[in-house]
Amino acid sequence: MSVLALEALTKDYGDVRALDGISLAVDAGEHVALVGPNGSGKTTLVRLAAGLLDPTAGEILVLGHPAGTLAARAEVSFIPDTPALYDDLSVREHLEYVARLHGVEQWEDRADELLAALGLASRADALPSTFSRGLRQKTAIAVALVRPASLLLVDEPFVGLDAAGRHALRSLLADRAATGTAVVVATHQLDYAAAVPRCIVFRDGEVVGDGPLTDDDAGDLDD
């Protein structure tokens, strides 16, 4: 069974059609980049899969469960394009909270690993409200990765990250895919998209390419 399955998925915002009857599947352990110009539907797809949006028509399933249902939510982890963090919880308290919400009992070691990998170890007890955009993004990444998930959805994760942060994130995403998690990343970073095995190209709410990123695709997207 596919981890993520879309069947004739359509999403409208008022009169504007953001996704137009898309069908595709992502299996366990796949590492997929969603690319396309602004407004092509990447973020909409990711947010639909996370259960934050309701489809206008069609179906979106996570391990056979409709996205957003309790069973689907247990399988999905999501890193949004804008970090959503509590002003009055420290980095470590965020990790503990989310881990416990998902029923993860042994979260401390995993949290320490993530904080070290993302360069946040010395700031574990600091409040993210005092952080720069990049540090907040790193915190959001750690929060999303502290618990296991069958599907990891990531929206524009590289924005605001320094070179070390980008490198760390690439490694973390690859590690997740290697352990069987389906990783789906919406991005404008073509070098990242070129490095992953599968790249789905969007234009005007439709899929216009699916497979390794070709030079033609990259050229079109650069234009």
Binding site: G51, R73, A84, Y86, D88, L89, Y97, V98, L101
Partner: protein
């Protein structure tokens, strides 16, 4: 739900409370409580004085007996409309963005997770209704027969019902994911029913029956009316049971906007509040204007045309709101004419709110000072050119005020007064709205009262916030002058015309002060 999951939420709340308590500045809290108590006390004293102690006449009392319950029912119906509209946009809950992401996307029962904030909303709604109703009861006891305590109880009861049905309706509509149009239709139906009762002088709607309970000091309501008091409780229970069905799409949109809205309200940036409120209500301009204007030419009328184009893209909800506020202003002015002077403030505030919508072209120019600065025009002259269209818009919706006054029993002289006082009233309201739009956010230590001692900052703040609606209220002075003339044997229309000239001079003076303010 496992023990870990169940414990996580209280643990988070404890951690956040601990941190907030640690960061709390007790002196600041006490100062705010002191200021609020002082100002609330002053407001009650002033309002009580303005309402006066003169008992209503026999015919007025008969009218209150006959139409009072339905009038209260209309208020309750209006609360249901507000609740339905809020629920249609995903309200009334306003969650924090991280709550939407972490809490609502976690594998937890959303009904359980949302019960606490929903109960909080119900408590706030009930408390606000109770307090406002009790306050109105105090005011009513000054002029209606009966002692104050029964009126306070009656007002509090009606207020409680109003608050609960508003929040309860919103919870049900959002939890059941009723569409915006359907929710608005239900809300208007809830409002139309007691209005029909008001017109017919009967009790058919449950809200009118609740109104009978709210007027019990004037006569015992029918026993069945007490049963109606169960409706708010049922609605609240239904809302609590249904809230788990809340749309995350609406919740995340509200979460992002509400935090901005709270910040804008904190710094009292009313322009930002207005824009964010429109986004919250998804009240964008129409893609197709009501009427498409042809191409124009020349610089002279460019600003006028731009403003008219903007108005022609007003959504129906904004037009209806402007008309409803104007009608409310007319009703309030008639109330002032009948003896409740405090209603002049209500009328002034309503006209100012409409003026805030009418100065949209001006406000957008102020929102983009850099773009204005790049134009080969004097900035102040450009801004001033927006004012005629704004005034015209206000004049265009003013007949609704006359309609409101006539519908509540105003005599035909109201029409002559409306024609006489319309331009001064519109001018003052527009200047008030321009003040609101021009001054932007309140930043501590800034503004023309920045040099005052910190102890006076509370008063300077109140003064700053009160100026715009006060200007709009001053624009209604011709009605006060006309009323005075009518009661002292003078000619109301002539008195209105004379004071109208003074009001126009006031508006011009205020505008000339404004023109000295910095543009950026």
């Amino acid at each position: 739900m496992t023990a870990t999951r169940r414990d996580a939420l209280p643990a988070l709340r404890r951690a956040r409370l601990r941190r907030r308590t640690a960061q709390l500045d007790l002196f600041e809290v006490f100062y705010q409580v002191y200021l609020t108590a002082l100002l609330s006390g002053a407001a009650v004293l002033v309002l009580s004085d303005m309402v006066g102690d003169k008992p209503v006449t026999g015919s007025q009392l008969e009218a209150v007996r006959q139409h009072g319950p339905a009038a209260v029912g209309v208020l309750i119906g209006f609360a249901v409309l507000l609740g339905c509209r809020s629920g249609g946009h995903g309200g009334p809950l306003a969650l924090e963005p991280p709550d939407v992401l972490h809490l609502l996307l976690a594998p937890l029962d959303r009904t359980e997770v949302l019960r606490r904030p929903a109960l909080g909303k119900l408590r706030s709604g009930a408390g606000a209704g109770l307090a406002a109703g009790a306050g109105i009861g105090v005011v009513a006891s000054h002029r209606l027969p009966g002692a104050a305590p029964p009126w306070i109880v009656a007002g509090a009861l009606a207020g409680l019902v109003t608050g609960l049905v508003c929040v309860g309706a919103a919870l049900v509509v959002s939890g059941r994911r009723v569409g915006r149009r359907a929710a608005t239709a239900i809300g208007f139906a809830a409002l139309a029913w007691p209005i029909a009762d008001l017109v017919a002088g009967r009790t058919t709607s449950p809200f009118t029956a609740a109104g009978e309970v709210g007027m019990f000091p004037l006569g015992a309501p029918k026993p069945l009316a007490y049963l109606v008091l169960g409706i708010p409780a049922l609605l609240a229970a239904w809302g609590l049971a249904a809230i788990g069905g809340l749309s995350l799409e609406a919740a995340s949109r509200r979460a992002a906007l509400v935090s901005e809205l709270r910040f804008a309200a904190t710094v009292r940036d009313l322009r930002a509040v207005l824009l964010l409120r429109r986004q919250l209500a998804q009240e964008g301009p129409r893609r197709r204007p009501w009427i498409r204007l042809g191409p124009g030419s020349g610089r002279l009328l460019a600003v006028w045309k731009r403003d008219v184009q903007g108005v022609l893209r007003w959504p129906a909800a904004r037009i209806l709101r402007a008309l409803a506020l104007m009608a409310a202003a007319g009703v309030a002015l008639h109330g002032m004419w009948s003896g409740t002077a405090a209603l002049l403030l209500v009328a002034g505030t309503a006209v100012w709110l409409v003026a805030l919508e009418a100065v949209e072209g001006f406000a957008q120019e102020r929102d983009h000072p850099d773009a204005t600065a790049r134009l080969p025009l004097d900035g102040r002259s450009l801004l001033a050119r927006h004012l005629p269209a704004s005034t015209a818009v206000l004049l265009l919706v003013m007949p609704a005020a006359l309609a409101g006054a006539l519908a509540t029993g105003a005599t035909p002289i109201a029409a002559a007064l409306a024609v006489t006082a319309a331009v001064p009233a519109a001018a003052c309201a527009i200047v008030g709205a321009v003040v609101t739009t021009t001054r932007g956010a309140h930043l501590p230590g800034t503004g023309f009262m920045a040099d005052l001692a910190p102890e006076f900052s509370g008063f300077s703040l109140v003064f700053r916030e009160a100026i715009p609606p006060a200007l709009a209220t001053a624009g209604l002075i011709p009605f006060v002058a006309a009323h005075h003339a009518a009661t002292t044997g003078g000619h109301p229309v002539a008195a209105a015309a004379q004071s109208g000239v003074a009001v126009l001079i006031l508006a011009a003076a205020a505008l000339s002060v404004l023109s000295t303010w910095k543009l950026t």
